[in-house]
């Protein structure tokens, strides 16, 4: 531990403090507003009972969490059960982001080399990052703990609140540990980011499948299931804290050992880095270069989305059977005829699956577009400055690339959902409903990508904001029913305009209106792109 480490820690905090503050605000306001809303909405035993019936359905279990089996419930128990996985995902995302910034991104920008050239060891940057995430997670834990304690909820205890927050903190540290190890294995921050976020998404989907299937013997597999086993405000089991804490420590030590064994600017596995002497005939120009550069990213997304699609598709079986066991459900989904009930519940489940998958497809598209910005910053377009490459071609390639990737991934993943659902069901899915859903999400995907294109043209430095916007709006739409969020708030994003498709069918007028908006936004983006500096 030397002075350089502290200096480096200071430098990290200086460059990260805005990110940290944003996460603090987001997490704190989610914790508090969730508690306020639930305590207000479900304050009587009857309403709480209704909520529980709804939450016990496989669909809600897939979306949010498994309810602990208890004889007596309080709002606080339900609150903790719902919020724990969601907040854990957010904590995970934050930790991936901070660790990648502190390790790989610093190395890529050359800062690490500058520091390592001085009197420091290879472990110094890793140690500084460890201290940073340690501090940040402790801070988050305290903020969230205070947030829970502040809101009076029936059944809440301060012990449970502390456990709730500490579980999230240790989960964050564990993800930080995973990311630290990943950043020693892979040489590019893009890869580490992608895999880190991917690990969290896999945890979430596994949790959904394990919980819906009630596969108790698989619960060890996803750390989000460990969190659920804590049964906060009921038994307050603290075991997961230790498990996660141990994982965090061991992973941190592994990362420290790995960083000593690798070269700077390299992953653990060094590629000899030799290839062809001449380019193939396929590498003809900018478009083929674009395809070549994006292929790996898109393929990774494709594999991920195919996995999620298959997982979700296979849940349709459980979603259907549970409904028959559960006559009370009629109340919630509306009194429909027995025969149409299956379709109603499938429809609702399809909404959730579609939202999730379309959101991921949008993220993939944004990734593709963002590559333009990162490459510009690195100076890739400087080299192409003397080429016969018009602004229109550049813009069109990136924007249409993003659009095509998002829409194709959406289509492919959706078809996989459809296919797996038909495999597990005796009666195939209603074709009209599936078609409505498939087409129904196209406008909102297009509009979001188009909004990103406007940022690309006018404020490329703020491009990162689009992820925040898409994430927050997705979360709000996802939680709309539970939290009884007002419709106008959802309308701040395209998700709100295509809300509940295909439970409600999207009107032709509205979809053409949205597509028109997308086109206008694309043109607006181009106007900015034509005027801006490219370096």
């Amino acid at each position: 531990m030397n002075r350089n480490m502290w200096w480096l820690l200071g430098a990290n905090l200086k460059s990260d403090y805005r990110v940290i503050i944003v996460w603090l605000l987001v997490n704190f306001s989610l914790i508090v507003s969730g508690a306020l809303k639930l305590a207000d909405l479900y304050n009587s035993p009857e309403t709480l009972d209704q909520l529980l019936t709804m939450l016990r359905t496989p669909m809600m279990t897939a979306m949010f969490a498994r309810m602990p089996e208890l004889s007596q419930y309080t709002v606080a128990i339900v609150y903790a059960a719902i919020m724990l996985p969601i907040m854990a995902v957010l904590m995970g995302l934050m930790n991936v982001q901070l660790v990648v910034r502190g390790t790989r991104q610093m190395e890529e920008s050359g800062e690490t080399e500058l520091i390592r050239g001085g009197v420091t060891t290879a472990t110094t940057p890793v140690l500084a990052t460890i201290f940073e995430v340690l501090g940040v997670n402790v801070l988050m834990t305290m903020t969230m703990g205070i947030g829970v304690v502040l809101i009076p909820m029936h059944g809440a205890t301060s012990g449970g609140a502390i456990l709730f927050a500490t579980l999230l903190g240790t989960f964050g540290l564990m993800v930080a540990g995973i990311t630290l190890v990943l950043s020693q294995l892979f040489a590019e921050s893009r890869s580490v980011n992608a895999i880190g976020y991917g690990v969290i998404a896999v945890m979430y989907v596994l949790r959904a499948v394990i919980d819906v299937r009630r596969a108790a013997e698989w619960r060890w597999l996803s750390p989000l299931n460990w969190l659920e086993s804590a049964r906060i405000f009921a038994d307050n089991r603290a075991g997961a804290i230790l498990t996660q804490g141990w994982f965090a420590i061991v992973l941190g030590l592994i990362a420290l050992a790995l960083v000593n064994g690798r070269d700077i600017n390299a992953g653990l596995i060094q590629f000899a880095g030799r290839g062809r002497q001449r380019a193939t005939v396929w590498l003809r120009g900018f478009t083929s270069l674009f395809v070549r550069l994006q292929a790996r990213l898109v393929l990774t997304w494709l594999v991920g989305l195919a996995f999620f699609g298959a997982m979700f598709g296979s849940l349709f079986h459980e979603v259907g059977t549970m409904m028959i066991d559960n006559p009370q459900l009629t109340k919630i989904i509306g009194a429909q005829l027995e025969a149409s009930m299956h379709h109603a519940i499938y429809r609702h489940f399809l909404v959730m699956v579609s939202m999730f998958i379309s959101f991921l497809a949008i993220l993939a598209g944004l990734n593709v577009m963002q590559r333009f910005h990162t490459d510009t910053v690195r100076g890739a377009y400087d080299l192409l400055g003397g080429m016969r490459l018009t602004r229109l071609k550049l813009y069109a390639t990136y924007v249409s690339g993003a659009m095509i990737v998002a829409l194709c991934l959406w289509g492919v993943a959706f078809m996989i959902v459809w296919f797996t659902a038909n495999m597990v069901l005796t009666v195939p899915m209603d074709v009209t409903m599936m078609q409505q859903a498939l087409v129904g999400y196209v406008p909102s995907i297009a509009v979001l990508i188009a909004i990103a294109a406007v940022l690309l043209g006018w404020a490329p430095r703020w491009f990162g904001l689009i992820y925040g916007y898409a994430g927050v709006m997705f979360l709000m739409t996802y939680m709309k029913n539970l939290m009884d969020l007002p419709m106008w708030a959802l309308k701040l994003s395209p998700y709100g305009w295509t809300y509940n498709v295909p439970v409600v069918s999207l009107s032709v007028v509205r979809s053409s209106w949205l597509c028109g908006l997308a086109v206008v936004l694309l043109i607006v983006g181009y106007i900015g792109f034509k005027k801006r500096d490219l370096v």
Partner: protein, 297 residues
């Protein structure tokens, strides 16, 4: 003489910062034009504006008589460009990158490419991520030298090259010159380009402080006078006046004022005299130091 590149009254601001003010100069057919200036003077900014990577605030840039940034599909047919910091896509090999750059520029791959690869001692099978700075620069240089265009633009081309490769680079520039091509070459250091350039423009803090041929510049430059005189008082107002302990005085004087100064020296009873022209390097250090030139006084 055909004007290949003509920049007039170019202005560029980044936010409130005026990076270029009223930059004007012309590069003629067949010239090797040195674009010199200290760090942050605006060389790269000027070049990027020519390429259309940066959008100028005002002024005109003409390439082969046409607006350089109007229709790049047309104008960029005439140029090859190597940036100062060469970023190459990490997963492509050097050989692939050279091919790609040539194809994108619409140039055929000739035997020249292989000759250049050999000359610059580049291993084209290596992935770009494993190249050193100099080798990355070589990749871009080879692609540029292999292209048959009118104007070659190099931004600090030799900053990453070892002395041997820098020599190769100079030879290639001379070959281009012999072939009647036009070259725009930016650099910090005059001595790096002195042997190849005909003409220079010096930029400092976003303003052109000097344009002309090398010989002209030397003509304009102030001479240094060292003398022993009986009465030094008439000279104390000359620029850079200085008196040694032994009584010797030194100052600078513009060439045009030399006869008048000589008369004054004789009147003052000169007993020893030395007149030295500045070396080019001195000259440029003067520009870098003050931006003003001694002969202005």
């Amino acid at each position: 003489m055909t004007k290949v590149l003509e920049i007039s009254h170019l202005n560029k601001t980044f936010g409130k910062f005026q990076a270029l003010s009223d930059v004007s100069f012309t590069v003629n057919q067949g010239q090797v034009f040195g674009f010199l200036g200290p760090n942050g003077a605006g060389k790269t900014t000027t070049i990027r504006s020519v390429l259309g990577l940066l959008k100028r605030d005002s002024g005109t840039i003409k390439l082969m008589g046409e607006d350089a940034t109007g229709n790049v599909l047309d104008t960029h047919k005439h140029i090859a460009y190597v940036p100062g910091d060469v970023y190459l896509w990490p997963n492509l090999t050097g050989g692939e990158t050279i091919d790609l750059l040539l194809r994108m520029g619409g140039h055929a791959r000739t035997k020249r490419v292989d000759d250049l690869i050999k000359l610059f001692e580049l291993d084209p099978r290596k992935k770009n991520r494993t190249y050193s700075k100099g080798n990355r620069q070589k990749v871009a240089l080879i692609a540029a030298f292999s292209a048959n265009v009118d104007l070659y633009i190099f931004d600090e081309p030799t900053s990453g090259l070892d002395p041997l490769q820098a020599r190769n680079f100079q030879d290639q520039i001379l070959a281009l010159k012999q072939a009647g091509k036009t070259v725009l070459l930016s650099s910090h250091i005059l001595s790096e380009v002195e042997k190849v350039v005909d003409c220079v423009a010096v930029i400092r803090q976003g303003r052109i402080v000097e344009v002309g041929s090398l010989t002209d510049l030397q003509e304009h430059a102030a001479l240094r006078i060292n003398a022993q005189v009986q009465d030094w008082t008439p000279f104390q107002d000359y620029p850079k006046f200085h008196q040694e302990l032994n009584g010797e005085i030194s100052f600078t004087v513009a060439r045009a004022l030399l006869p008048k100064t000589m008369t004054a020296l004789v009147t003052a009873g000169v007993t020893d005299l030395k007149v030295t022209p500045p070396t080019l390097e001195d000259l440029f250090m003067q520009y870098y130091d003050t931006g003003a030139v001694a002969h202005e006084s």
